[in-house]
């Protein structure tokens, strides 16, 4: 498989996953606001700011907006084209990557992704958002799940498909750590909090919902919300498909399918780091994690995932394939059209 194709499939999957995660975070938090009493401007900012911080694009945000108001944050995360990681940009990037490998993907996949792209770029998208944000997000989430289903059901499960898996699970693991990190300020630096307020409980339930984990969590823990259980579930569960452990396990599997190397061995650094991280997740307890501080742990997890992404690039892609700009784009256009 061409390195450039592997690269595009990987990024297509990452961006689809990214868009869906943004849709869930913003949707859940907008709904949660309806349940919080005594909201003033200061509290609202205290509420929205961590969400921007969790995306890792805080600097970018303050270049464009003076304050983290609800309006500014949602605009930044959803529609703003200047934000390279906004929902609409993510869909554009996913589609652009798909377009570069149009010959490698199925008509079904292309059509649905292109439909989603045409929708978010149309005036109807804004209208739908203004009328009912939750309908708008529902559309995005449904389409993203549809796309994942099409990927699994229509693509050949060959090397390209495994690159799609690496992109999807790497992104998902990263987003789960970020969503879990949103409420870290309410936690002590180290250790598990003894008791939490009902408002905190609401916010931790929002964390679960942002990961589509509410139903799954309730079925294993009941309706009792506590940060310790929430973190345990989102980090260490071995059967919840968005937990970090689950994602890293899938990532490990995908990397091994790509290289053909069996468990317990590695041929490149990406495999080594993934295997190591997986073992750590398998043999850690949540109390140990809280003991060193959840926030610090999540920061480190993000750095590890980042490293794995870089090493994956080194192993298989090796030279950057950026979208053509400037002169390159002009020359592409310029070829004599007969």
């Amino acid at each position: 498989m061409l390195s450039r194709v592997a690269n595009s499939l990987y990024w297509m999957a990452r961006y689809i996953e990214r868009a869906e995660n943004i849709a869930r975070i913003v949707d859940v938090n907008l709904q949660l606001l309806l349940d919080i009493r005594h909201l003033d401007e200061r509290r609202l900012i205290a509420y929205w700011l961590p969400i921007v911080q969790a995306t890792g694009d805080e600097q970018e945000f303050f270049k464009l907006h003076p304050q983290a108001t609800g309006h500014a944050v949602t605009e930044f995360l959803v529609f703003q084209m200047e934000n390279p990681n906004s929902l609409v940009q993510s869909i554009c990037q996913a589609r652009e990557n798909a377009r570069m490998v149009r010959d490698q993907i199925t008509l079904e996949l292309w059509e649905e992704l292109n439909r989603l792209y045409l929708f978010v770029r149309s005036p109807q998208a804004r209208d739908s958002w203004r009328r009912s944000p939750s309908d708008f997000f529902h559309e995005i989430k449904a389409s993203s799940l549809h796309i994942v289903g099409i990927i699994n059901a229509t693509l050949l499960h060959n090397q390209g498909w495994w690159f799609v898996q690496t992109g999807q699970f790497l992104e998902r693991a990263d987003k789960t750590t970020r969503i879990l990190d949103v409420r870290y300020e309410s936690l002590p630096d180290r250790g598990v909090p003894d008791r939490i307020s009902s408002e905190d409980a609401l916010e931790w339930s929002a964390v679960l919902r942002s990961c589509s984990a509410w139903d799954a969590y309730k079925s294993s823990h009941g309706a009792d919300i506590h940060p310790r259980q929430v973190a345990e579930f989102l980090l260490l569960s071995d059967d919840f498909p968005r937990s970090v452990r689950f994602c890293v396990n899938e990532l490990n599997r995908a990397l091994r399918r790509i290289s053909g190397v069996s468990e317990g061995h590695f041929t490149n650094t990406a495999e080594k780091l993934t295997g190591r991280f997986l073992a750590e997740l398998q043999f850690s307890t949540i109390d140990e994690i809280f003991e060193q501080g959840l926030h610090r742990y999540l920061d480190e997890a993000q750095a590890k995932l980042n490293n794995i992404g870089n090493e994956l690039f080194q192993a298989y892609i090796s030279q950057p394939f950026e979208a053509a700009t400037g002169e390159h784009m002009v020359q592409q256009e310029e070829q004599q059209q007969q």
Partner: protein, 478 residues
Amino acid sequence: MLQKYEVNSGFDEMLDPRTGVRGHYQKFHNLFRHVSPVEYDAKRQSVDTAFLRQGITFNVYGDAMGAEKIFPFDLIPRIIPSREWEHLERGLQQRIAALNLFLHDIYHEQRILKDGVIPEFYVLSARHFRREFVNFEVPRGIYIHICGTDLIRDKDGNYLVLEDNGRCPSGVSYVLENRRAMKRAFPGMFEAIGVRPVENYPQELLKTLRHIAPVGVADPTVVLLTPGVYNSAYFEHTYLARHMGIEIVEGRDLFVRDSRVYMRTTKGPQPVHVIYRRVDDDFIDPTVFRRDSLLGVPGLVHAYRAGNVSLANSIGTGIADDKVMYYFVPRMIKYYLDQEPIIPNVPTYLASEAADLKYSLEHLPELVVKAANESGGYGMLMGPKATREEIEIFREKIIADPRNYIAQPMIFLSQHPTYCDGTFEGRHVDLRPFILSGEHTTIIPGGLTRVALRKGSLVVNSSQGGGSKDTWVLYGDD
């Protein structure tokens, strides 16, 4: 709905002003009678939506936003009876044979120049003549593997060749997609009418490409080299690659080592043997042609010369579709094949011939002037429709560089019923058949019918308000 359709002027493909609907349109006309305006509208919209959703779009040249548009598609098919098609097929085969012989000759002995049939000056001064390839043996001696030759019909319905596109002709993906769309819109008609299929084009193209594999390579790796996503024909590149089951590559996916071409894959370098390139000569190798090319592969030409990789089309074919060289194609047919052209040229004046130049300059308001090396409807003057300023600008251009211009009388292309805002009106059409030269010469039945959607317009190019139609070649004559 077609009942109210009238011929306004010129040759109409469907209606004979004296006898009514022509024989080969009869069956379609009868079946189409049962389609109500509401139904037709629904079919039209569903086809447009499908094209947009599938991304069957082109990028508008020079549009910085990279906006994509669908190539407007008209649901009324252009129909060609069997005997007419057989005539065209013979004519096109004759023409491509002469063009390939011509290219071989001018890159070798140059007999046609030495015998004075074509003045030497025209060939040696042509922008697309590649001196570097004189005496180079192209694989299997074929220069133009894929040719798109544009045909038009004059006021009496005679077919004429308007131009040959022998570098990177595009549009065949629309032929295939238009057919798919028509089959969805009018499933019952095909069998009832007896339409020849076009679907085997990708297989035929792959066969043509495999035919030129370097000597000794039994199972060649064929790839399609695209300029990239911003090229207006990118959809077509992915379409053809997908249907042939080959990789689509960009210049940066390839590299040359020891005069061999490899592609960069996740499992390391893989050899490449045949490249269907949709990148111009000028850009294909920055070490040989344009140094600033970001689309090419350094060393590719060297690998090509070493015989380790084959290119389709060959380098240097642009000389054959130079509009000045077009003037000489009937002479080539006579010279190499000793035949009369089966499909004639449009009468043409060469600005670099004194008498023709004088005539052209005196009759500019009646003539169509074309630059020798432009295509896509650019660099053109339509005398009868131009303002006085436009004519004067061209007059100066022609005087400054006569080698670069030809002039032709305005030919009123044939017209065809076309949907226009709720009714059907006559719009001008041309026809681009696609000719493949491999082990055999293969032409898929029909080709791309382009239609000028603006009333009275004669420019069918997609970049200038053109659309397309499905082209039906019948098994029989009616």
